[in-house]
Subunit: 274 residues, 3 copies
Amino acid sequence: MFEKILENVAAKTPLVHCITNYVTVNDCANILLACGASPIMADDSGEVVEMTSICSALDINIGTLNQRTIESMHLAGQKANQLSHPVVLDPVGAGASSLRTNAAHGLLETIHFSVIRGNISEIKTVAQGNGTTKGVDADGNDAVTEDNLEKVVAFAKGLSEKTGAVIAITGAIDIVADAEHAYAIRNGNALMSKITGTGCMLTAVIAGYCGANPDNLLDATAAAVCAMGLCGELAFDKLQKTDGGTSTYRTYLIDAMSKMNTELLNGGIKIENR
Amino acid sequence: MFEKILENVAAKTPLVHCITNYVTVNDCANILLACGASPIMADDSGEVVEMTSICSALDINIGTLNQRTIESMHLAGQKANQLSHPVVLDPVGAGASSLRTNAAHGLLETIHFSVIRGNISEIKTVAQGNGTTKGVDADGNDAVTEDNLEKVVAFAKGLSEKTGAVIAITGAIDIVADAEHAYAIRNGNALMSKITGTGCMLTAVIAGYCGANPDNLLDATAAAVCAMGLCGELAFDKLQKTDGGTSTYRTYLIDAMSKMNTELLNGGIKIENR
Amino acid sequence: MFEKILENVAAKTPLVHCITNYVTVNDCANILLACGASPIMADDSGEVVEMTSICSALDINIGTLNQRTIESMHLAGQKANQLSHPVVLDPVGAGASSLRTNAAHGLLETIHFSVIRGNISEIKTVAQGNGTTKGVDADGNDAVTEDNLEKVVAFAKGLSEKTGAVIAITGAIDIVADAEHAYAIRNGNALMSKITGTGCMLTAVIAGYCGANPDNLLDATAAAVCAMGLCGELAFDKLQKTDGGTSTYRTYLIDAMSKMNTELLNGGIKIENR
């Protein structure tokens, strides 16, 4: 169903500016190349405005943020907004420290994000807003299950309405929603949580897909979530045939993305409208 | 012999806060996940106190230290001490520059470390203390061999008595000692020195094992050293069956850690009391 | 033809100080080990002078430069010049932002580089000099082809004469030139551009080879370019026999470097004098 999304990525080779963490930055660069995009990593406040200007999308990931890079995130995000480039936020660890929570909220106040992707806990933190305002009501549970799916979908739609961003909540079941439509996606494999960076890599791929499809952010995001989850499944299938462990699994995951195409995606996609 | 150590890791999934270098940080995160722990990397002074508070152990690695992160190491280390979390020091490159040597000594003055792991040269630098005091007498040789083993064991025990930390000196033969007991461990493979990060990864695993076994730091450290060395052997065995090189070896090493268990460990462990 | 170059690397295990970007730093460290060198990564201004002093060569890569590390690059470069250590510049992204372009030019003003390696666009930016001076005339095209090869060779020789550095322009065809001699090298594989870091890794290997061959920088650089390109070919051949993707390709590339030797190199080298 996402033929056009993938076609645009292949045709445009979108350049993605990433201000991201140093833990998974190499994986993000490699999966961007694997998915048909091209990465630029730059985080000095003296160059991020120029760098983001020559790109098609901006990926802001707060995984190892510091005072210096927070400023760069603001500068780059504002410029990307001026240029109407898709801007994707990965609020890694929001809620775990005040610095991260406040940084995420500060970014949301000055930048319009096209997509926000995180686990349910990070997205809830984002939703709670700064200061005393509770903002969108977040479901109390920390995992998306069949039981609370409807509530999480409603939460995601509400947050999208509030922020204007497509909301991607990833976990055992993934939710991708704008204010009016939502997808529930059941691709993926539990082993993805045993390697670092699957979330960061997904966010980078979302930025790449959105960079090539700026007029269809909901579907671009959903396609990236499906593709990444399916790569997790394909990598697991391959791992079963060897006696590899988690590091081999990481290799197979990125390998799978470098071979992803519409036929593979449509053959393995597990998505429903909600 | 380390059944309980591994059981506790599996049961607790200890969260390890790493302030570490950007060269091997991805490998450290992945091997922590592989060994049954969970990593948090954060180095901004504005969040390290909160981050270390929600963890079970702290890993301080000075591999690419800078003025900003040295301050963060002090703040996190002191907080971890207040909370009685195990704190592990990897004095990467201590002795190679004044900044590193002084940073290591400065950290040792304000933080009580649970474990200090390095090669013989780094540990000697740590032992010499700040300023003119020579402190614990270090053996003159730069490799641990059968010939100087007894002297190095005595040195390690002395340094442990002085610092209160378990001392892990790794090389062809590994020594793990507290003030009264020492282990000599002969697991490992020479190829481990042909990939970057085996030392950093080991320190991270030690932090994970200690985080789950705060009351048995000597055995937790020894178990981690044995496990890592055995992974190096298992990875080498597997490499012999393929025509892989050093990058494949790195993959196999982390793979092996993701499959390590008590049965494997007890089947391959090469440890003796000294 | 590069027997002596490789012999010296094997005999000396040159220690290479890298001030490099955090995207590909792990790959650079691993390929340095794979090629028979040894890496030290250190970027704090308080230690780079000491660190570079104990090394045989310095690799300055501006891939994720910032104000702090630019200063360190200057300090280390000047010290390496004083000690007559080979200093290699990788002007990653020069031309993409003023900060990078100015940083590259600033480094060239205060440091004598032994080798400058980049793609044609980066090298042209380097050649244009600071301010209004156009300096060496750069060819207008952005790829080295059979058609413009002669012009690019002349450009490279001219830039070498101006800077005193060996110039390595890498792409589908690689040019390595000093003021009087040039090599055209046709090793390599197109898939190398689908993983991050092949350029950075090559620059690191050049630094390693030059560190062991300070009196033969042109051939050391050409040997490194041939070796890296041949690794790209060997990795691709191996990939064809498995169903691997780009991440496996990266693993095979570094694997190939860990197995490179004179016999392999001479069997696969595609080099001509120009």
